[in-house]
Symmetry: C2
């Protein structure tokens, strides 16, 4: 929201849209055709349909963002880009467009996902040679497609329901600016349908733990792989924690053009790579393994997210023409949480979110008010150079005792930039986010350079995580998931 | 939205809230306790839990509307009440609050709905004496509660998903003022999950028709009751039409304080009465009949709607302190459409919506621009008397030919108020809504009197429909549904 006194000069549609050259139009038509081709692929493979829907997700989002931008500004979804000299006014909450495109396509995907069952179940045993009696019976009881995987459908619907809830809560947050403490727990409500379905369909509350942990817990017992520990009800608490963590952690690692969407794109790509490893192994060996099924489901959810995210990134990249809003961060985070929970690979998911975990832990002293926390912790624009510098918290009362020691230790290992006066009193320090931390290491950077550095860190961390997951983890845990 | 130049003087919270006397507080505590008592009823009967959740739905909505009203105005959800002399500014889109309360409680209701299955399935066959091998197997395949009615869960989740979609589309409409022609078809998107589940779980596309219709279609064939006709794919078109009609028809019969919510309350009550007939017959005879199951599901959806609606009606009744918005009309209409579709009683549902059907048919000449249609067709306030008078369309070009004859016939049977000049040319006529029609019959009325008359018509029509459904219909259709 702009400060009082600043004028509101809504941007026109043309400022947002691409140059509508014939090439661009040709590209759209081409992409749409490819998308539709994949959707209605001849082999009726849901995976190919999913690829098609993801292409359409990109095309639709790409077309809708410039179309809807001005309307968003008109109804009050706008913000000023504080990282630019002229602080331009641009549409906010564009994550809502992504969310709606995503949800619509996921609805349309339902028949494609279950095509196999719908066709085999109805072509053979049609209604034609039924007697009137069975017809009457059917009216009152309904027929059921006996082979149809109702539990899979329930799972899929529950996941969509959770996503819709977080979408609504995200938009509500962008509209009403819900208090920090309240919105931290918004995902709890959204995740209820998912938990119920998890309880009903899986109920697996065992986790595989490293061998040495198992040995510690079962000293004296003969070892028998794999070493699992039944967490029981705590497993649900663990899933809840994942569902609360993912959306919020992406929302905290935010504030510069392209970072929110960029990190979601990187994480999506690595989740898809991880899924591909399982799916391809299954397809090559010709056997359908339950873990491969779970990773197929994960692909169905993550690939369309990648589609809408790439389109959004185009408009949100430096210099941003739209903002994504908390809506997008929550939505993307919730997709990750869901596939982690339903695919029973929440630990692997957390490996891909290591920068977010580190940022959360690093921010914790400020989030929980152990150290002063200003309203905004974004990097500060140096108007002279046009570069971003790490923002600082100026202490009204110099920290003493434990807090002083804590900051001094951090400063010594270069994890915070400390300013002290001659008497050794701490005057200010850089804000505790990894965005500011990177800036204290690299010095001032232009906004897009900073985003690239941060995304490179994300990619490197995810890459290392993926390799570790498939090389070191099987050794530590005694066996692999396959 | 207020006209330009009109000042925006947001109302304070106290204008919206009830007098916070000790009695009021006691009432809230009492109602909450009763609600919670029913939710956690000792017999674990989902029907009693549903009653409890509905009481809580009332309490929560009643508390949240005055709390959130000022925030709604702040973000731009407000409107001016044109039916009052001073045209006060009040919060709009309060249906969103109802919708969110409703959805949250329906989420929490899931475990209660399936409590029976969750408990029997897990108490006996616990995880304790499993071998590690089966534990490992479970981690990779998941267990399934074998008796658990996954199809019922999928049905329930699909219904909630459809409701969430319409809620989001409704809010989008209130925010962006979507064009009339586009929003007419919004329910199509929302109803997809429901149609898929219907196809998978029931697939019943037969409808019971009156005996004479059956005889016409099957002339020469021996008659064998009940007379059903398989509509096949047209049945899905029929369901789609119901899903489009219900939300829109409630949205069209609107514009005076208390009418939108009032009609939804009346329809809900009669749907519940109809459900009760089936459920009670089942409980008395001790047998669980599929039709009774469908009507139980209908109760689970309609009763909480009644809860939120009564609370909303309190604030929306003359003189209105809040507006309900298109959001509410769509949402309530969609709940009706869903129970009609899932319960396979869409025809009975339409019987309860006869005033809406008549209003739609009566409005059609204006809706489809055969007769001039002004931007607003609300009754007009006479500032002198404080009473509402029927609003009129002034013809720029006097209707001739067919349109003139049509209006003259309507005028003769007192279905429109016509103004002609000496030459017999039509100068103006009352707008074609049943709200204006009632006013041409009764003469000017105060807004609340008019609402009462219209709701009385609704109740009378529903009452007649309910009686006809259970007395005449079984004769015409050859048998009853029971």
């Amino acid at each position: 929201m702009p400060a009082a006194g600043q004028s509101l000069e809504p941007i026109a549609k043309k400022d947002l849209s691409n140059a509508k050259s014939p090439i661009w139009h040709t590209g759209t038509v081409l992409l749409t055709s490819i998308g539709l081709g994949f959707v209605f692929n001849r082999s009726s493979d849901p995976l190919l349909s999913c690829v098609g829907f993801s292409v359409l997700a990109y095309v639709l989002t790409n077309a809708l963002i410039p179309t809807l931008g001005p309307s968003f500004i008109k109804v009050g979804f706008y913000g000023r880009d504080l990282g630019k000299n002229n602080k331009p006014l641009i549409p906010e909450t564009m994550g809502a467009v992504c969310g709606l495109v995503y949800m619509s396509l996921m609805f349309l995907f339902i028949p494609f996902l279950f095509y196999k069952y719908l066709v085999t179940e109805t072509s053979g045993a049609g209604n034609r040679d039924q007697t009137i009696d069975t017809a009457v019976h059917m009216i009152h009881t309904g027929r059921q497609l006996s082979m149809f995987p109702h539990s899979k459908l329930a799972e899929y619907l529950a996941a969509l329901l959770s996503l819709f809830s977080i979408l609504v809560l995200g938009v509500a947050d962008d509209l009403f600016d819900i208090r920090w403490r309240n919105k931290l727990f918004m995902p709890v409500l959204a995740v209820i349908p998912l938990m119920v379905v998890y309880y009903v369909d899986f109920g697996v509350t065992d986790v595989v733990v490293p061998q040495f942990v198992w040995s510690l817990l079962h000293s004296g017992t003969e070892y028998s792989p794999p070493p699992t520990v039944n967490l029981g009800i705590y497993y649900y608490a663990y899933m809840l924690a994942v569902a609360i963590f993912c959306p919020n952690s992406i929302n905290i690692l935010a504030g510069i053009n392209g970072l929110e969407v960029g990190q979601a794109v990187v994480v999506s790509v690595f989740l898809l790579l991880n899924d591909a490893i399982y799916i391809l192994r299954g397809r090559i060996s010709g056997s359908v393994h339950p873990a491969a099924e779970a990773h197929l489901l994960s692909t169905y959810f993550v690939l369309p997210l990648l589609g809408v995210s790439i389109a959004l990134l185009k408009y949100n990249w430096y210099p941003a023409r739209v903002f994504v809003g908390d809506t997008y961060c929550y939505f993307a985070g919730m997709v990750f949480a869901e596939v982690g929970i339903l695919g029973h690979f929440a630990k692997t998911l957390l490996v891909f979110l290591i920068p977010q975990v580190i940022n959360f832990i690093y921010s914790a002293p400020q989030l929980f008010k152990l150290i002063e926390c200003p309203r905004h912790r974004l990097p500060k624009l140096n108007v002279e150079t046009g570069l971003l510098e790490s923002s600082r918290v100026e202490f009204k009362i110099a920290p003493t005792g434990l807090r002083k020691n804590f900051l001094s230790v951090l400063a010594k290992i270069k994890l915070v930039d400390l300013e002290t006066d001659r008497a050794g009193k701490i005057k200010s320090c850089s804000n505790l986010t990894i965005i500011n931390l990177v800036l204290t290491w690299t010095g001032p950077l232009r906004e897009d350079k900073l985003a690239i550095v941060l995304l490179a860190i994300q990619a490197a961390s995810c890459g290392a995580g993926l390799i570790a997951r498939h090389t070191i983890a099987p050794i530590i845990f005694g066996r692999d998931n396959i």
